[in-house]
Subunit: 190 residues, 2 copies
């Protein structure tokens, strides 16, 4: 998506350790018009997928995901990072390692909000190793639902998570796919 690539070139910052900082429009300060445009693109891409629910993970995916849910006319559910290791029987849960923070989170969704028969579109701001998507997909499958695909803002294609998931049969649509990031601040898109 040209609009998002332009914005990354203009406002993205490359930090040591392969971190792309986009927190002035995507995940700390957020541009709502960009979220709206991305949601329209997801709606176009997944128009025929029968989406009846959007699922994301707190916190920075929520802004994109609510706009996407609005475009599809369906509810958004966001998976929560659990503070407790004692997981109740009222939730589906999964362990998700975080590339950025170097830790593992227990992520939960209430059993009330994921069901057999659901056709779920996963939404997230970043795709790197794919761990978050694997976790979200597992939550949907615990409920007996189907994942129709994943809509991602920025895929770091060089980390391989997206292609691995595609090879496993998941439809992954990333609006910007980064082939490489140079230490001099240059970004190459796929």
């Amino acid at each position: 998506m040209e609009l998002l690539e332009q914005r990354i070139r203009q406002d993205g910052q490359i930090l040591p350790g392969g971190i792309l900082k986009v927190d002035n429009f995507l995940n700390h300060q957020i541009d709502p018009q960009l979220m709206y445009e991305m949601a329209q693109e997801f709606k176009r891409l997944f128009a025929d997928a029968g989406v009846n629910k959007v699922l994301t993970i707190e916190a920075s995916g929520i802004a994109m995901a609510i706009m996407a849910a609005h475009a599809f006319g369906c509810p958004l559910v966001f998976a929560k990072k659990s503070k407790s290791k004692n997981i109740s029987h009222e939730v589906y849960s999964v362990e998700v390692p975080s590339f950025t923070h170097g830790n593992t989170n227990t992520v939960v969704v209430s059993r009330q909000y994921l069901h057999a028969g659901d056709r779920v579109l996963l939404i997230d701001d970043f795709l790197a190793t794919g761990a978050a998507l694997v976790g979200l997909k597992a939550l949907v499958e615990q409920a007996g639902g189907s994942v129709v695909g994943a809509g991602i803002a920025i895929e770091k294609a060089f980390q391989g998570g997206g292609d691995k998931l595609r090879a496993e049969g998941l439809r992954v649509e990333s609006l910007a796919r980064i082939a490489s990031m140079g230490d001099d601040g240059t970004i190459e898109f796929c």
Copy 2:
């Protein structure tokens, strides 16, 4: 706002300890059309306030707040709960006690995203004791900006936080104000 009050009556659940559970439309599963309608109402209420930024706190305020920011045509900034007690000089920070979780969070916003001259609308899903709003207001004031008011989905008026803030001169607009909640599940609005 009639639409929100109806939804609370229909889908809200009262739990022991004065907790109103609205996680099937507001803060776990989220109804995007309701978020959109609430955002339009905030836009109407604060039309002349010169809002140039919306500020909320992660995670459950983000969905409402991005819709509000879209209605105002301005950026959303969300304050983050810091995992670290070592706060960098690059952020404004404040301590916010949580009524629901019984703990205190250090909440931060990057200095890049709040400025002197900003006219900030605070948005949050709940107002009870007012601690979150007090914290968000302090962050704006650390930056030298002005808070033009607060837009809240559900105010638990019986906990007094809203009226205390109004008495101090803050404009607080709550779309549903709860006067009392009975142990039998009844809810009375102001």
